[in-house]
């Protein structure tokens, strides 16, 4: 999956460490998600959407979708 997590995080001026604290995961997890090298679990994806006050599909899109 692709995602715009890095852009949304930058909009809010958050560091990766701060976002990781909000999500209850490690900073490495945030890094891997932002690089699209790790697809988060559904509960984590819901928490990401909740943190950014949007829907999951606003953050994540299938890799095949243009």
């Amino acid at each position: 999956m692709r995602n715009n997590l890095a852009a949304r995080r930058a909009e809010r001026g958050w560091s990766q460490a701060h976002l990781a604290e909000l999500l209850g995961v490690s900073r490495q997890t945030v890094i891997s998600i932002e690089r699209s090298r790790f697809d988060p679990s559904l509960p984590l994806a819901f928490r990401i959407a909740e943190v950014f006050e949007c829907r999951i599909e606003d953050v994540f899109t299938p890799a095949t979708e243009n």
């Binding site: 909000l22 999500l23 209850g24 997890t29 998600i33 090298r37 790790f38 988060p40 509960p43 984590l44």
Partner: protein, 147 residues
């Protein structure tokens, strides 16, 4: 969730009592295991006690540190099970498990055909070392590739 407070940051040092307890329990555990070994092996009990106690001391101190000190100095993320490190660990150990099963199968066939007599201790040590090394290398590769 945006207003969720950050988890309490761990302190860099545990109280002195925790370190003292860690050392005391670690020493007692190593001495206890050394005593068991010296009782079960009838030859040179003093030497057996010393060798087993000393070789097991690092592992015992490690376990003791995990129980008494780690809680003060480290704080795992609230949802560590959903982290990428857990994912890597699960994949690494799963892959290592199948590697060890394959290795054991091939080894068993080789031993059965050749009729070589193997002692249990080095064989078990080899299996353990292979499993740990395999999982470690797999974890390292995954973390480099996907980190």
């Amino acid at each position: 969730m945006p207003g969720t407070p950050a988890p309490t940051a761990p302190t860099t040092r545990a109280p002195l009592s925790a370190y003292l307890l860690m050392v005391a329990v670690g020493l007692a555990l190593a001495a206890g295991l050394g005593t068991i070994a010296s009782v079960l092996r009838e030859q040179q009990p003093a030497l057996t006690f010393a060798v087993f106690s000393m070789t097991l001391l690092p592992a015992c101190l490690g376990v003791s540190w995990l129980i008494f000190v780690a809680g003060h100095t480290t704080a795992p993320p609230e949802h560590a099970e959903e982290g990428v490190e857990t994912n890597w660990l699960q994949r690494a150990t799963s892959g290592a498990f199948f590697d060890v099963i394959t290795l054991l199968g091939l080894g068993l066939v080789a031993v059965a055909i050749t009729g070589i007599e193997l002692s249990v201790l080095p064989a078990l040590a080899a299996v353990l070392f292979t499993a740990m090394a395999d999982a470690s290398v797999r974890y390292l590769v995954l973390s480099r590739r996907e980190g």
